[in-house]
């Protein structure tokens, strides 16, 4: 979190791991990265450049762009589901964490979700 905030304050726009992102949108929009089964719901694409100022805005933007993902990451209250973890450039983040054009957001199932016997 601290490194993420520091980068924003510093006005940095280059991601730390930009080699993981297609060149054509590297400087334009944050990219949301999905694994299965979310990837399949989202047109079978793993990477989604989307507009948004926070992680939550990106999740809403993903639902608008890929309606089949609706209800899978966010519940009806607009909360990120309890056993979904979101990472910003590799670090755990929250729904209201700010994002900028250079960021990479990974959406992953939490290990806690498999605890039910």
């Amino acid at each position: 979190m601290s490194s993420r905030a520091g980068r924003r304050l510093d006005g940095m726009t280059q991601p730390r791991h930009d080699d993981a992102r297609p060149r054509e949108y590297a400087a334009a929009m944050p990219v949301v990265r999905l694994r299965q089964p979310l990837k399949r719901l989202a047109g079978d694409r793993a990477e989604h450049p989307l507009e948004g100022a926070t992680v939550l805005e990106l999740m809403h933007a993903l639902e608008r762009a890929e309606p089949a993902t609706g209800g899978w990451i966010l519940d009806e209250r607009g909360h990120i589901r309890r056993h979904i973890n979101v990472f910003l450039n590799g670090e755990r983040c929250e729904a209201q964490t700010p994002v900028c054009g250079a960021d990479r957001v990974d959406v992953l199932p939490a290990i806690s979700g498999g605890a039910t016997a």
């Binding site: 209800g71 519940d75 209250r77 979700g113």
Partner: protein, 357 residues
């Protein structure tokens, strides 16, 4: 050949076999996911399944073949932007109108489909009922678990919520009224007002040959109604325990019901390690155990949940099937006279539904 849909903690298992003979697993779907309930609609042949992903939340799915491709149903969600989220869908029930299905779930919600399960709509009258702030969840959540249709009349329904009691509608769900007169919860003080909302109904079924009659397994109590659910009479005398979850009926005999008593609310297993299904053929005046032929008689401490007992056929050929959290599934093809093991070592069984051959 009868078909069972067995919802478990780790997927849906479709079993097929002859009553009294051998059953085998013919398909497994939603591996690793909690399958709360799955039913095959005999009108369309379609299977509808309720799946609660620990990660991605509750969803309904439908397929023609449980081993084939599943499609996600639309509309299974609460209104966006509120302060509640759908937790799970407990039960799926075929309605009386063409293409009509109902689904009940947590937090005390009813959905209806008119197109065979592809799209669903929330029942707003129940969702917005003024008493809802007083509804309180039972141990399994605020679950709407029983949806009881009236044969031939899609306007009339009885539903039950744990723990918000019985609700009745005569106008297809446009309005709801309570149907709890006579219920006596032991878990509340004796002087609790009669209009107390926190009534923990465990299961409700209607006798289709006499539709004004319903049977109820309560959280400590077994009841019968002869006035379509307006009032209730205690019929638990003669049972080893009045605590349990599932309930079944014989469609041909309105005086018949089946229960699987558990020891009590602090020890939810079959009493004394003996597994028995209790039958009444006189509307609850007397009960007799069934299962001496084929059910475990010692060291069997099973928990049978409310959705885990179902029936098909009627009369002497009535088929009964139930599953336990031990992973065992038992069946009878002769109205409980003899029993056989339909499956064992499955994941914990949450629900069983049967489609007759």
């Amino acid at each position: 050949m009868s078909e069972l849909m067995v919802g478990t903690r780790k997927g849906l298992f479709a079993l097929a076999g002859e009553p009294g003979g051998t059953f085998g697993v013919v398909a497994r779907a939603f591996a690793g996911e909690t399958v709360e309930n799955a039913v095959r609609d005999p009108r369309s042949g379609r299977v509808i399944a309720s799946v609660t992903s620990a990660f991605y939340g509750p969803k309904l799915w439908y397929a023609d073949d449980p081993g084939g491709e599943w499609q996600q149903a639309e509309g299974i969600a609460l209104p966006e932007g509120g302060d509640a989220a759908l937790e799970r869908i407990w039960t799926i029930v075929c309605g009386e109108a063409d293409g009509q299905l109902f689904a009940g779930g947590d937090p005390g919600v009813l959905f209806e489909s008119r197109d065979g399960g592809e799209t669903w709509a929330l029942n707003r009258a129940l969702w917005e009922h003024p008493s809802r702030p007083k509804w309180q969840p039972g141990g399994g959540g605020l679950c709407l678990h029983s949806i009881v249709t009236w044969p031939g009349d899609p306007q009339r329904l009885a539903i039950a919520v744990s723990a918000a009691g019985v609700w009745l509608t005569d106008d297809g769900g446009e309005s709801w009224r309570r149907g709890n007169r006579g219920l006596r919860p032991r878990y509340l003080p004796e002087d609790t007002p009669e209009d107390e909302i926190g009534l923990c109904v465990h299961r409700l079924h209607r006798a289709p040959a006499r539709p004004e009659r319903l049977f109820m397994q309560f959280h400590g109590g077994v009841y019968r109604s002869d006035d379509a659910g307006e009032s209730w009479t205690d019929i638990a005398a003669g049972l080893p325990s009045d605590f349990g979850f599932p309930l079944a009926i014989d469609p041909a005999d309105p005086d018949c019901a089946y229960l699987i008593p558990l020891t009590g609310d602090t020890d939810r297993v079959t009493p004394d390690g003996v597994v028995r299904v209790y039958e009444t053929r006189d509307a609850g005046a007397t009960w007799r155990p069934r299962g001496e032929d084929g059910l475990p008689s010692e060291h069997a401490y099973l928990t049978v949940l409310r959705e885990a007992l179902d029936w098909a056929g009627e009369g002497q050929g009535l088929e009964l099937y139930f599953g336990a959290t031990s992973g065992d599934v038992f069946g009878s093809g002769d109205a409980g006279a003899s029993w056989f093991n339909a499956a064992s070592r499955l994941p914990p069984v949450l629900s069983v539904t049967v489609t007759p051959g």
